[in-house]
């Protein structure tokens, strides 16, 4: 990375010419800020001296809305709209929290279907992340390959619950629909197909010489900084920290499957670079396929709606449940006052926390690197602003 301070040029009169830093706004309407994020850049030529993120353009009062629902079940469609590229994972986190508050034990079949859906959604979300990352770096074609494959996952979801983006599928205590008969063979077929696609994608983008040059050595996030900023998900694992809530704070039936946690190893440069975060996402898709395949094999029979409570009125108390969403630790803190309406719901969204590290890791890099860094954080502004 180049030095931020350059000696000012000397004019013919012997006095040094006056140079100054430029303040420039990146966003809210900028193709690389992945939504309505505004970054205030202070640049010295091409070099970024400082970055100040301004958020809140997409604030929709999610938490306040939840306090005015008539019951707990009605929060789920709102949760969908938080992080709209991985709605299933948001629902998962919320229902896990609500069920812990209500002390409901859901049937085994429901847990398996939830895991299958959450992992398929993780793949869909990571496909958008790596696809748009390609666009940020300047490669347009991989993006469309990602969307083609994501389409197949959305077809599976549509087959199950009729919706393609915002599902309202996981309910407290159960699911809105059981999976149809043809779901299992179709999902297995997808898993086989997608393995091959991942290899092709790695050839096309991940190990492309230009891509490696653009992302390795850029946006270095040391493990201690990542932990201090409470980064989670691929952001944290890209820095070499082996931490995944699916294993370290178990929920649902993840302990029944055999899978590995992808960690950045610094294959092409120092650990914690943008490339490491990208490869962690690629590897996680592979692991999600493994989980889905095992879950499809072991899925038990049962009724998916048997445990849905008729009336949801939890005892006064509070609960915090956290799950591993594609972006990191997604937690819901619910306070109940004994009525049918939640007293307070607080979402701990991974994108918001991960974004806070941007200033720390992009100081002194170039504008093009900043684009690579934003892309590697993989923010969804719907979830950052809520």
């Amino acid at each position: 990375m180049s030095e931020a301070i350059i000696a000012p040029p000397i004019s013919s009169t012997g006095r040094s010419l006056r140079t100054e830093e430029m303040i420039i706004n990146m966003g809210p309407q900028h193709p690389s800020t992945h939504g309505v994020l505004r970054l205030e850049l202070i640049v010295d030529g091409e070099i970024v001296v400082d970055v100040v993120p301004h958020i809140g353009y997409l604030h929709r009062c999610f938490e306040k809305h939840c306090e005015h629902m008539t019951n707990y079940q009605q929060v789920i469609p709102y949760v969908d709209r938080m992080d709209y590229v991985c709605s299933m994972n948001n629902e998962f986190a919320y229902v896990v929290a609500a069920e812990r508050l209500l002390k409901i034990q859901v049937p085994e079949r429901v847990e398996y279907i939830r895991v299958i859906m959450a992992e398929l959604q993780r793949i869909a979300s990571h496909l958008i992340a790596v696809g748009t990352y390609g666009i940020d770096i300047g490669a347009f074609t991989p993006f469309l390959y990602c969307f083609r494959d994501r389409e197949m996952i959305l077809d599976l979801f549509e087959m199950t619950c009729g919706a393609r983006l915002l599902y309202n599928y996981m309910w407290i205590g159960g699911l809105s629909h059981d999976i149809p008969v043809e779901f299992v063979p179709k999902a297995k077929e997808f898993c086989g197909y997608f393995r091959k696609q991942l290899r092709d994608f790695n050839d096309l983008l991940t190990y492309n010489e230009i891509f490696v040059k653009r992302t390795a050595n850029v946006g270095l996030l040391p493990a201690d900084v990542a932990v201090n900023f409470a980064c989670s998900g691929p952001m944290l694992r890209g820095s070499g920290v082996n931490w995944d809530l699916r294993r370290d704070d178990p929920y649902s039936v993840y302990h029944k499957f055999d899978w590995d946690i992808a960690v950045g190893k610094g294959e092409v440069g120092p650990v914690g670079s943008c490339w490491d975060r990208h490869i962690v996402r690629m590897a996680e898709m592979e692991q999600s396929i493994r989980i889905v395949e095992q879950a499809l094999e072991q899925i038990p029979e049962g009724d998916v709606q048997s445990a849905i409570p008729k009336r949801i009125r939890p005892n006064p108390g509070e609960v915090y449940a956290r799950t591993e969403s594609p972006r990191g630790e997604l937690g819901f803190y619910i306070v109940s006052d004994g009525t049918g309406t939640p007293y307070r719901i607080k979402a701990r969204s991974p994108g918001f926390v991960n974004l806070s590290v941007i200033n720390e890791i992009s100081r002194g890099s170039m504008i093009a690197d900043l684009v690579a860094i934003i892309g590697s954080i993989d923010i969804v502004l719907g979830e950052v602003d809520r």
Binding site: D136, G138, A139, T141, L204, L205, M366, I367
Partner: protein, 348 residues
């Protein structure tokens, strides 16, 4: 062609106007075809269909796009420098269009049979930088300014390796006249410059690898000169939002695009003349003649344009410092070494 026109209408002003207008007509037609080919190639690489509605497989879409741009409101930002803002796209276009004057479109058509043809093209294409700087500066937009400065740095840097690659070919051919250069490569594929031209067999064997390197150097730097991926840093959609073109709309924007496509063909055509025989037929004396020669010239040029499109939709973009590295520390030394090697071979 000129002779034919002269006998037809005499040596009048009209004659010169027709000669000058022909490349313009070609550029307009070619741009429509190139836009269509680019969109279709990109779409098929990306597993989609592109235009399908306007005409058979959407062949009329480029015309519809052009008409749409003509109708659009032509906005000029309030804080822009009006004169330079309006002038800039035309200067960029003039830079690309003027290069067509010295391109040998066939054995009997060349706009101007200059004896310093290639030198003229190298010189006149530099005018594009002036237009881009004007556009970026007069837009009064920080992103545009970034784009313009990047473009100026990039185009000037890449002119050096490309000029050296051209120099290598000129050393072998002994002429800067593109018509003579093409004529020297007639008589079959073995006489093309990339295979050592008309040198003796012994020398050819040594020259061929050098020429291959020179071709790669020229082709890479020409891609950078026309601002195409992986060197589209001045435009850099995802960083600078089209760079110096950000504030342009309507017809001015269309002119920038036209200039970009014209430039793309110009550099491909130069590569054709320098390395692949220009209008010379690859099959010795078969398929020669004025019309065939024009066909070969355009076909070879379009083939190189297609290679460019293919690369554009495959590769990511370099960073601005990496771009400079490629120019100054990779291409320029290689071009120098090749020119030196060619000099030694020719003296020997």
């Amino acid at each position: 062609m000129e002779q034919f026109l002269k006998t037809l209408i005499g040596d009048t002003l009209l004659n010169h106007v027709i000669i000058a207008a022909l490349p313009l007509v070609f550029i307009l037609l070619y741009a429509l075809v190139a836009i269509y080919v680019e969109m279709k190639m990109a779409a098929h690489m990306q597993d989609r269909l592109a235009y399908m509605r306007t005409g058979w497989h959407g062949v009329l879409q480029p015309i519809a796009d052009m008409l749409k741009l003509l109708q659009k409101e032509d906005t000029i930002p309030a804080a822009a420098d009006r004169i330079f803002f309006i002038l800039a796209p035309y200067i960029v276009f003039v830079g690309s269009y003027a290069a067509f004057a010295a391109l040998p479109f066939g054995s009997s058509f060349i706009g101007s049979n200059l004896n310093i043809g290639i030198f003229y093209i190298v010189a006149i294409s530099s005018l594009v930088v002036v237009g881009i700087m004007m556009a970026g500066w007069s837009s009064n937009n920080k992103w545009s300014l970034f784009g313009a400065l990047r473009a100026a740095a990039q185009i000037i840097s890449y002119e050096i390796p490309s000029a050296f690659a051209i120099l290598g070919v000129v050393m072998i051919a002994g002429t800067m006249n593109l018509q003579e250069l093409s004529a020297a490569q007639t008589g079959g594929i073995q006489h093309w410059m990339i295979f050592g031209g008309t040198l003796s067999l012994m020398k050819k064997l040594i020259v061929i690898p050098v020429m291959l390197v020179l071709f790669v150097v020229y082709y890479v730097s020409s891609m950078a000169e026309v601002n195409r991926t992986p060197f589209d840093i001045p435009e850099a959609e995802s960083e600078l939002v089209q760079g110096y073109m950000t504030e342009y709309s309507g017809m001015k924007f269309a002119i920038f695009y036209l200039a970009e496509y014209a430039n793309l063909f110009a550099v491909s055509a130069i590569a054709t003349v320098l390395f692949f025989g220009g209008w010379a037929s690859p099959f010795a004396s078969a398929m020669t003649g004025p019309l065939w020669s024009t066909f070969w010239f355009v076909a070879k040029g379009m083939l190189l344009v297609c290679v460019n499109i293919w690369l554009r939709w495959t590769l990511p973009r370099l960073r601005v410092d990496q771009l400079m590295y490629v120019s100054w520390k990779v291409l320029t030394p290689f071009a120098f070494a090749c020119v030196l090697a060619l000099g030694l071979i020719l003296v020997w």
